[in-house]
Symmetry: C2
Subunit: 194 residues, 2 copies
C-alpha cells in the first residue's frame, strides 16, 4: 500500500461549502480534489493500492482528516466536483479521534499533522529534496506528505525536518502533478521499466 | 514552443453547456479542463512556452478548436470550472477557418484533426509508443497529440499511423497525467537533471 497525505491549509471543514466555488468558499478545495484524483485514477480504473488522506485546516473545525481508500471506494469520478461531493459526505458525519466510515472507502477523523506523523513514517515531497529518480528502491518509502499551494508553516517544518525529502524535477509543480510523477516512478520500478 | 492537441470526442460545442455538469452536459469537458491545466500551470505561474489546443467533436458544431496560449492568457485559474468558463468564451464567438481571438491568449477556429496534422508535425502520446525516457533529445518533437478517455477512432488512427508515438510509462493514465509526465521529462532535459 502507498499512501499520500496532503495538507489543505485553508480547506473548509464545513460540509456545506459550495460545489460551485471550490477555490474560494472551499478554501482551495479544487487543489485537494485534483490531488485525490491524481493519486487514485488510472485511465480506466482506480489504483487499488492507494490511500489518500487530506488534512483540512480551514474553519470552522480545523483538523479534519478525510481518507479515500482505493480498494474500497465506489462511484468516484475524476472531476473535481464529484470528488468534492465525497469530501462533503466525509465532513458531514460526526468526527472523533479514530477514522469512522462515511461510505465505502471514505472515512473521517479529527487529527493534526503531528498525530499522523506519530502514527506512520512519511517522506516529504518538496522541491528542496533529493531527485526521486536517484533514490534507490530500498530507500523509497510508502507514505508521502505534500503541502497544497502554501509552503509548510514553521510548525509543520519543525515537525517534518527529520523526514526524508524527495523532489520530482526542476520545476515547482502543483501537488497533484507531483503525485502523478511519483506514481509514475513507482509504476516504472515495479514493472521493470527502469 | 511546445504544443498539445487533445481530442475531446464528445466535448460540447454549445457555449451554453453547464459549468455544474462538465462530465455529462459538457461531454467530458472536465477531462479537457484538467489537460489544459496540466499543460499550462506551474506551482506559482503559467508555462509561457506552451500552447494547448483542444479539438471539440461534440454537438452541435463538431470541429471547434480552442487554443490557450501560455504567454498571453490572463486570469486563468487551475480549477476545472474556471478553465471551462474560458472554453465557453471561446465557443461563444463566431468561428471561421482561422483562429480568431476570444480574449488574451484565447482563440477559436473550426477545423478537423486532418487540418491540424497538415499544418503541423505531431507525435502521438499513447501507451503503445516507445518509452519517452529512451527517446534521444533530437528525436523529441515539440507538438504532441493525445486522445481523451476514448481511444482514437479508426479514421483518427488512419490519419496518425505515420506519426512517431511515445509512451509515458507502464500504466495507462489520463491525458492530463500524460501531459504532466511529458513536461517533467522535457523540464529535466532542459535543466540537465538527466
Amino acid at each position: 500500500m502507498i499512501s499520500f497525505l496532503i495538507i489543505g491549509h485553508t480547506a473548509s471543514t464545513d460540509a456545506s461549502f459550495s460545489l460551485n466555488d471550490l477555490p474560494g468558499a472551499g478554501g482551495r478545495m479544487d487543489l485537494l480534489c485534483r490531488a485525490i484524483g491524481s493519486s487514485l485514477f488510472l485511465s480506466h480504473g482506480i489504483r487499488q493500492n492507494i490511500t489518500c488522506d487530506i488534512l483540512l485546516l480551514g474553519q470552522p473545525h480545523p483538523g479534519r482528516i478525510i481518507r479515500f481508500s482505493g480498494n474500497e471506494i465506489r462511484n468516484l469520478s475524476p472531476d473535481e466536483r464529484n470528488i468534492a461531493s465525497f469530501i462533503k459526505k466525509g465532513l458531514a458525519i460526526p468526527a472523533g479521534k479514530k477514522f469512522r466510515e462515511a461510505g465505502p472507502g471514505l472515512s473521517c477523523r479529527t487529527g493534526t499533522l503531528a498525530d499522523m506523523l506519530t502514527e506512520q513514517k512519511y517522506a516529504v515531497l518538496d522541491e528542496s529534496g533529493i531527485d526521486i529518480r536517484k533514490v534507490p528502491d530500498e530507500d523509497l518509502p510508502k507514505n508521502f506528505l505534500l503541502s497544497d499551494n502554501q509552503n509548510f508553516s514553521d510548525d509543520e517544518k519543525n515537525c517534518t525536518a527529520h523526514l526524508p525529502c524527495f523532489s520530482l524535477g526542476p520545476a515547482i509543480v502543483h501537488a497533484d502533478h507531483a503525485i502523478t510523477l511519483l506514481l509514475n516512478e513507482i509504476d516504472r520500478r515495479e514493472s521493470g521499466w527502469i
